[in-house]
């Protein structure tokens, strides 16, 4: 909890102990999600190029 408060304050978020509790709840789920993705053996997988259409539209392909 105190780490979240510290990191949040470093990021200039208006954070205190009471706020941090709500944030930790949400963050805990995100950490679970991140763990699941990390365990998914993505070794040979490149990130999706999300703005593919934009590259095409500017003839940079």
């Amino acid at each position: 909890m105190s780490t979240v408060v510290a990191v949040g304050m470093m990021a200039n978020l208006p954070m205190d102990g009471r706020r941090a509790e709500a944030v930790v709840d949400v963050l805990a789920k995100a950490v679970e999600d991140a763990d699941l993705l990390r365990d998914a053996e993505l070794t040979n997988t490149q990130p999706a190029i999300v703005f593919r259409a934009a590259w095409r539209s500017t003839n940079w392909t």
Binding site: P14, L37, A40, A53, A54
Partner: protein, 473 residues
């Protein structure tokens, strides 16, 4: 062709297609249509609260102009005189756009979103702004209620749009979909919701949740209407970095299946796991109807779908936190507590987690591409949501395995893989559960093939009457 007198007497119940015909045949005027829809809004709003704002005077003024054009009768735009509800995260010039948030109280944009510009150029009349969950972050959409059961949420985040179409308080509405937010409220409220191919509809002027996942799409009473409206909405727009340069399909004239017996893939895994029995049964019956109409139904297995929800959660949290970063520091207390916690948490997710989510996206897209190619599929068919409308005030659900998950996760689980893949997907009504809550069938097509999913949906509608059922208001 004339529209039945019974429908003309209650014009708010008309589909876009029928209203367009009735207006052109001068069976009804645009002012009469708008006036009737405004009466319907007055009648239903105390119960369902689908609108954040109703623009009655402006709509009537536009209707008078539409009647002038109809009297002159030449070069009429395709949606002339048709009232539309616009989700309140989509900017409308000179009309407040508050995103369901105190952060934006009183904000009046000076220009409209491109999708609104296009709809108005096509003759549609903005009748109001529909309720959204704050900044489109959730599926509760307070204070809107589901017209089928006023004790339940309408889904979301385009909950106001779904409820308004279900209540006949507009002829169609526009929503946005980051993980489920057009298709979920369509399913929950028993209407049609279309998420087009990623980049098909410009998001210029739409407040983003996630640049890499957001889509804009119509909510309508029939699949045919979704095609008509999408044709007017779709365009290349250089101001949206993801906008497609491909020409928008002529859905009103070219809609059609690629072949007589379309190949429909039914997933054997993930998409029916943990789905309520009533929902599963309704969707299985819908698939049997498609089969009876000539579809070739094939069972398929998909890999990596379990990566979709975590990837969408991380991408959307990080990207929305990026968008709101400065505002969150300026006016933190104006955000609702759940939105604020989400935005703060999004800033603390690591960069490596974000990139892993984009890598997972590659895997989900690849899995879907392989299944379509290997099986030569035209579409996939699945339930839109594992559950129907849920009671107001219920934040979580208990899954079959005993785990407790937020409602938003469960509602987004089946639609969200197609936000990652960018494929077009439509939700159409396919029955009810034991509580008389609507169930949705999701049909997913190949990229750019909106015509295919709309045609299959129309084939289903031609054999059933779920899309004609009205909420008991």
């Amino acid at each position: 062709m004339e529209v039945d007198q019974l429908d003309i007497d209650r014009p708010h119940r008309l589909t876009v297609r029928d209203a367009t015909q009735a207006l052109r045949a001068r069976q009804i005027s645009a002012v009469e249509l708008i006036t009737d829809v405004l009466s319907r809004i007055q009648e239903t709003e105390p119960a369902i609260h689908a609108y954040a704002l109703v623009t009655a005077d402006r709509a009537l003024e536009s209707a008078r102009k539409a009647d002038e054009m109809l009297r002159r009768g030449s070069d009429l735009p395709p949606l002339i005189g048709i009232p539309v509800g616009i989700k309140d995260v989509i900017e409308t010039a000179a009309i407040p756009t508050e995103c369901g948030s105190r952060v934006r109280t009183g904000f009046v944009p000076s220009v409209s979103a491109e999708v609104v510009v296009r709809l108005e150029a096509a003759g549609a009349i903005v009748i109001g702004k529909t309720v959204t969950h704050e900044f489109a972050f959730g599926v509760l959409s307070p204070p809107t209620r589901c017209p089928w059961d006023l004790t339940c949420i309408p889904g979301g985040s385009s909950g106001g749009s779904g409820a308004a179409v279900a209540a006949d308080s507009c002829l169609f509405a526009v929503g946005t979909d980051t993980g489920c937010s057009v298709r979920n409220p369509a399913s929950i409220n028993g209407v049609v919701g279309l998420k087009p191919t990623f980049g098909r509809v410009s998001r210029f002027g739409v407040i983003p949740v996630s640049w890499s996942l957001d889509h804009v799409g119509p909510l309508t009473k029939t699949a045919g209407d979704a095609g008509l409206v999408l044709e007017a909405m779709a365009s290349y727009d250089p101001r949206d970095a993801s906008s497609l340069t491909e020409h928008a399909p002529r859905l009103s004239t070219e809609a059609g299946l690629r072949r007589k017996a379309p190949r429909v893939g039914i997933p054997t895994n993930y998409f029916f796991d943990g789905v309520a029995e009533d929902v599963k049964a309704a969707v299985r019956r819908a698939i049997a109807v498609l089969q009876s109409q000539g579809a070739d139904v094939i069972e398929v297995t998909l890999t990596d779908m379990e990566l979709a929800l975590p990837a969408v959660a991380i991408l959307s949290m990080v990207e929305s936190s990026t968008f709101h970063s400065a505002q969150l520091r300026r006016t933190p207390t104006l955000y609702e507590p759940d939105s604020r916690a989400r935005l703060e948490a999004g800033e603390l997710i690591t960069g490596t987690a974000y990139v892993d989510a984009q890598r997972a996206r590659t895997r989900v897209k690849e899995s879907l591409r392989k299944v379509f190619e290997t099986n030569n599929l035209d579409v996939l068919a699945t339930p839109t949501c594992p559950l129907t409308a849920l009671p107001i005030g219920q934040p979580n659900i208990v899954c079959g395995d005993g785990s407790v998950v937020p409602i938003v996760n469960e509602y987004a689980r089946l639609p969200c893989p197609f936000n990652l893949s960018g494929q077009p997907a439509i939700s159409i009504p396919c029955g009810f559960d034991s509580q008389q809550h609507p169930v949705g069938l999701q049909i997913i097509g190949r990229p750019f093939d909106e015509a295919g999913i709309i045609s299959l949906a129309q084939l289903y509608e031609s054999a059933t009457d779920w899309h004609t059922m009205k909420a008991p208001l």
